[in-house]
Amino acid sequence: QRSPLNDYQRSKGVELVNSAHSTFLANEEFNIHVEECAKRCSELLDCRAFDYNWKTQGCQLLPWTQHSAHIHIQRNVLFDLYQKKDYVRDCFMGNGVSYRGTISKTEKGKTCQQWRLKSPHDHRHTPNPRNGLEENFCRNPDSDQQGPWCYTTDPAKRYEVCGIKRCEAAVCLSCNGEDYRGLVDHTESGRECQRWDLQTPHKHLFRPEKYPDKSLDDNYCRNPDSSERPWCYTTDPNINREYCHIHKCTDKKRLHHVEITHGCFKRKGEGYRGKVNVTTSGIPCQHWGAQTPHRHHFLPQKYQCKGLEENYCRNPDGSEAPWCFTTLPGMRVAFCFQIKRCTDDVEVEDCYNGYGELYNGYISKTRKGITCQKWSEQLPHKPHISPVTHPSAGLEENYCRNPDRDSHGPWCYTMDPKTQFDYCAIKPCAGDSKPFAIGDTGVIFDECGKRDNRVISKAR
């Protein structure tokens, strides 16, 4: 039940543009499924890629890839680009007979001889549309066990292998391979992987759009769920998922993107190595090495980079915060939210009185260290408050100000497109306290806070 798309590598939101000419292999047709496009491209010997237009549901079959001359990739949200893997992979699968990449140097750095030439080395391999013997690119027309090779332009060296790596060895596996982004697309038993963006033959939760940080690309082996190793769903309807065989790195014993902390935790706390060993509500944690009261697969010996020592709160699976299995049989896991987050606030250099509505200092950074947007600018945020709307609020440059009497102090629009406004790295001056309203404030609530309180009659 393999999909014809399995032979293609998808790039979202882009198309291939040929600056030299714009002929296509066939006229664009509309209302065809992307798999049908893949099928048609696979049937054509000279088709190497296709642009799929999601709006018109049409595709353009292309005789080139991003590595061809005069071709460049252009952003276009309407399109997805599908290129045949054999042409764009920088590693080879199996013995490399299907490799169609553009490496043209041997492992010792010698330039390859053009396949159509018979000198300096005469040979019997004649280019044809099927064998891919183009230019002087490394190929493996005789199924050599060492992979793609070529005749060299050095008269003293007839041929040499190119040193291209097998995909299993091209990218090694550190820790449990959560950050593996290599191109292996078969399981250790040799079954082909199912594409993550398909729901057949196996229906699953790991939709690529739901896990953008997990790089669930095409049908490559990945580890989005903190399993022991990268894995994939298989194209065999009878086998749901299997691990993939990928070489382990010899020297990497820590996750490179994780910062180690002890007294507090950063981001999701995957690097927390402190000694808190109870949950938020004070329940002692189960030792990671133990299997009672809860059986689990997070064994310290299998997750060597995750700091699963003793019964300390840890985050081996990318949860929201450090957690542990609890010692209560009825409560399997619980977060350790009592561990403080490391402050990512910036150093405070100034203070303000009251609400800071009279603050006229020169601080122009938010508490997270983001530079403030100029009050008179319209980008990245279109301001509701500006020198025009509040001419007497001192909205100069990008200095922190409080034109709307915000009780949390001076603020600004930020230069981060994702954060419209934020408070500044300024603290209230000591001794300032703000009044509270106690009791009846005369506020009348309108369309909120009402619910249907059904009274169950106790009468027989």
């Binding site: 939760l205 939709r207 759009e209 739901k210 896990y211 953008p212 940080d213 981001r267 999701k268 706390g269 949950t279 938020t280 509500s281 004070g282 929201e320 915060a321 209560l328 009825g330 409560m331 619980a334 977060f335 939210f337 009592q338 987050r341 606030d345 508490r367 997270k368 509701h384 709307d404 915000d406 009780s407 949390h408 102090g409 981060d416 994702k418 954060t419 419209q420 406004f421 408070y423 306290s433 703000k434 009044p435 509270f436 309203a437 106690i438 009791g439 404030t441 506020v443 009348i444 609530f445 369309e447 909120c448 806070g449 009402k450 619910r451 249907d452 309180n453 059904r454």
Partner: protein, 227 residues
């Protein structure tokens, strides 16, 4: 909720991760905005694609055919002022209000809830064996002053926090309830006076519970919704 009983709290929402697993509570303060606590999220600019808010159901694990369940993706997270421990979550589309989904009122700015006001917490969190694990539970409390609360908590309760009276039996919020509401009845409307935050223990008897006082942050909440 440890102790308490099954109840109806149409503004209490369930926050679900990418696997659809409930991890925290929240309160619907506007058709398109939910208030929860910062502790439930990995960062202020966390990538929340795939994270959802479930509304309109009383069940922790409703069936996919539950006619009243609404599932809406979270499109944005905004962290509150320092010390607030609050976050606002923007929903991808407005929730449909009906008898199962309602908006809770916000208190007046810097309003102090009078002592002995009756309030309730709600959530689908841990019950510690007190029953009704799979349905929304609520528990009733009355408010005490911060001064009284500080006698037990040794001066650690700040003005941006609000306390409920200690109970003689174990009852209170627990894992999975964090971010949910402390709702108090004013006239005939329920008002979001507090947000459940992680504390020491679950429903510890003889200990006042501490919540974030929402009235201190009402101006920020309105500003975020307006902007």
């Amino acid at each position: 909720i440890v102790g308490g009983h099954p109840g109806n709290s149409p503004w209490t929402v369930s926050l679900r991760n990418r696997e659809g697993v409930h991890f925290c509570g929240g309160s619907l303060v506007n058709e398109q905005w939910v208030i929860s606590t910062r502790q439930c999220f990995s960062s202020c600019d966390a990538d929340l694609s795939g994270y959802e808010v479930w509304l309109g159901t009383l069940f922790k694990n409703p069936t996919s055919s539950d006619p009243e369940k609404q599932v809406i993706s979270i499109s944005k997270i905004v962290c509150g002022p320092s010390e607030s421990h609050l976050v606002m979550l923007k929903l991808e589309r407005p929730a449909l209000l009906n008898s199962r989904v309602a908006i809770i009122c916000l208190p007046p700015e810097r309003y102090i809830v009078p002592e002995d006001t009756e309030c309730e917490i709600a959530g689908w969190g841990e019950t510690r064996g007190t029953g009704n694990e799979n349905v929304l539970k609520v528990a009733m409390f009355s408010i005490i002053s911060n001064d009284e609360c500080n006698i037990v908590h040794k001066g650690r309760v700040k003005e941006n926090e609000i306390c409920t009276k200690a109970m003689a039996v174990e009852v209170g919020a627990c894992e999975g309830d964090y971010g949910g509401p402390l709702a108090c009845l004013t006239l005939d409307c329920w008002v979001l006076e507090g947000v459940i935050i992680p504390g020491r223990g679950c429903g510890r008897k003889g200990q006042p519970a501490i919540f974030i006082r929402v009235s201190v942050y009402v101006d920020w909440i309105n500003k975020v919704m307006k902007m």
